[in-house]
């Protein structure tokens, strides 16, 4: 679960290096995509984004534009030093790579062959599924001590109430408000219930602080 191959697009629109920028831009428009891998005999040799294509050509209204669209070739504007991902990479690694390089997509390559493409919006979709935002549920935020057993303890309270947890995401520690107090982590639970009043009571009794929902 949560590997690049679970979220990537497998049907890829590609270009050859000797195609024109005009053709490439038309493809972006028609297929509503922003990134095109460039292949030579099945091997990935580069990638272009709609932004690369646009900034390489004169603006709309410029008389030189029509000619430039036909003259400039993909190989003139593509990035050849391509950052790519493996199908079995965890999705968070792909997300981190995109973030570090400030890029919006990674071609996915296996044994030298292009097998897919993963974009920042694929990562977004994975996040939506990861936090269960596509299923009915209530979102709860609970601060737990940064100590072994805290998450299990909080989760156990839901189990005791018979409430199913749709997803749980735990954040980094945050500094305590007072000195000498154990640092906390905030856990976001998505739970399958419309009525959180009872479980909030039990969580507080067990010593967890419920940050959302607020007290009535």
């Amino acid at each position: 679960m949560l590997l690049v191959k679970d979220s990537m697009t497998r049907e890829i629109v590609t270009l050859a290096p000797d195609e024109t920028v005009g053709t490439a831009l038309a493809l972006c428009r028609e297929r509503r995509i922003r990134h095109l891998p460039v292949l030579t005999e099945g091997r990935l040799v580069g990638i272009v984004s709609d932004r690369d294509l646009r900034s390489a050509t004169p603006a709309f209204g410029d008389q030189a534009r029509a000619a430039a669209l036909q003259e400039i070739l993909v190989e003139d504007v593509m990035v050849s030093d391509v950052v790519s991902a493996l199908p079995d990479d965890p999705i968070e690694q792909a997300a981190n790579t995109m973030r570090d390089h400030k890029i919006g997509c990674l071609p996915v390559v296996e044994s030298g062959e292009l097998v897919g493409i993963i974009t920042s919006s694929d990562v977004m979709s994975a996040l939506v599924y990861l936090v269960g935002a596509n299923e009915p549920g209530s979102r709860m935020e609970i601060a737990v001590p940064d100590r072994p057993g805290s998450l299990a303890g909080a989760a156990g309270v839901f189990g005791m109430c018979g409430i199913n947890i749709v997803s749980a995401a735990m954040g980094p520690t945050r500094e305590p408000k007072e000195e000498g107090v154990v640092r906390e982590r905030v856990v976001v639970f998505r739970v399958d219930t419309i009525d959180t009043t009872e479980v909030v009571g039990y969580l507080e009794e067990a010593g967890y602080s419920v940050l959302w929902p607020p007290k009535p």
Binding site: A133, S138, R139, N164, T193, I194, D195, T197
Partner: protein, 391 residues
């Protein structure tokens, strides 16, 4: 009364058997809320000329217009057997939200029958407006109970009316504090059914859906309208958002019937949500639904109940105000003494003596201006992105 001249007849669909829809114990969805509301109407003399119309339960083939037969069978089994099937949980049944109870299929099918009857009475011209306060179970999904809702009464009624009146256009308007997800998904690609839901933002609140971008699919794009409101939204901001969206989208759609879900859980006292409305909202919304029904579809308006979990202080008064509008009667100022003396001993909280909240009792929070501004931004988005798609 001026309204009397405009339109005459109203019907109330109810039966004691409808009050079997409840989950028992301390469950917040307590049928006592329906009892309290109707007894308050009665004590105020608002039911004198309106005998209850008793509905038949919905038949199995009514239910399967929107639910799967597998799910219906599961509900039937759950209510009958002493050893419930183990896959019950896969259907959202047997959870703290939707516990099973004896004969639950019959009780739930009767609620659907009530709303269906109310719709048929109005479509047949036997009444201009009708109310079935037990209805409004808007979270029920195709194959899953959700958020206290087992069968989707509005979903079944709309599907049946579409069969009985080919070409009919139905507007469903949901002002419950929770998103009307079940009804929305059932008609998500249907341009003949407009669903409008105003609710507390799903960023935190159940069911989580109901963003502006949920605007329908395929041919139905534009026919799902969502106005998510910020937590702690008050009457003022809620009403101005309602006025900026609902009349315009209904006019653009031009319905043949308006079906409203009148959950009253957006009240400041409600324990399950974080909105800050008062009875002012629950008087305003029905009045506007009534006026819009006359403006657009010869008065054809069916009102249902919905959520509302402060069953002592809020639900009886909110739904009395609803019935007063449905039946063109003046809303009295004071709660009846008889009703108060019957129930105040049983209520765990003090019962308000007046039908309308005093705004002084609901002081404005410090961040109200900011919330109102954010709500207006949401409304602008709806007006820009969704409204133009409605034809």
């Amino acid at each position: 009364m001026a309204a009397q001249a405009l339109s005459g007849r109203a019907a109330i669909v109810h039966d004691l058997a409808l009050e079997n829809y409840g989950f028992g114990g301390d469950h917040p969805f307590n049928p006592l809320r329906v009892r309290l509301a109707l007894e308050l109407c009665e004590a105020l003399g608002l039911l004198e000329d309106y005998p209850f119309v008793s509905p038949r339960p919905a038949a199995e083939d009514d239910l399967t217009t929107v639910h799967t037969i597998t799910y219906v069978r599961m509900v039937q089994k759950a209510g009958r057997s002493h050893s419930p099937p183990s896959d019950l949980l896969d259907y959202g049944l047997g959870t703290p939200d939707n516990p099973i109870f004896p004969d639950m299929h019959e009780a739930c099918a009767r609620v659907v029958g009530g709303v269906l009857a109310a719709c048929r009475i109005v479509m047949a011209g036997e009444a201009d407006h009708a109310m079935c306060i037990s209805g409004g179970l808007h979270h029920a999904l195709r194959s899953r109970a959700s958020g206290f809702c087992v069968y989707n009464d509005a979903g079944v009624a709309i599907s049946r009316l579409k069969e009985e009146h080919p070409g009919i256009r139905i507007a469903y308007v949901d002002t419950d504090a929770h998103h009307g997800d079940g009804v929305q998904w059932m008609f998500y690609s249907d341009p003949d059914v407009l669903t409008v839901s105003m609710h507390e933002s799903g960023r935190y609140l159940f069911p989580g859906s109901g963003g502006v971008d949920e605007k329908g699919r395929n041919g139905g794009v534009g026919y799902s309208v969502n106005v998510p409101l910020e937590p702690f939204t008050d009457d003022e901001s809620w009403i101005s958002c309602f006025e900026a969206v609902v009349p315009e989208v209904l006019r653009a759609f031009d319905p043949d019937l308006i079906l409203s879900q009148n959950g009253c859980d957006g009240h400041a006292l409600d324990p399950l949500t974080h909105l800050s409305a008062t009875t002012r909202l629950y008087e305003h919304v029905p009045k506007r639904m009534h006026d819009l029904a006359h403006e657009l579809c010869r008065g054809r308006w069916v009102a249902t109940g919905g959520g509302g979990y402060d069953i002592w202080r809020v639900v009886p008064r909110a739904w009395t105000a609803l019935w007063a509008t449905v039946s063109h009667q003046e809303l009295p100022e004071r709660v009846s003494k008889d009703w108060l003396s019957k129930w105040s001993g049983k209520s765990p909280v003090g019962l308000p003596p007046l039908l309308r909240d005093d705004s002084e009792d609901y002081p404005q929070g410090p961040r109200l201006a900011k919330l109102a501004e954010r709500n207006l931004r949401t409304v602008d988005e709806v007006v820009e992105k969704v409204l133009p798609r409605i034809q």
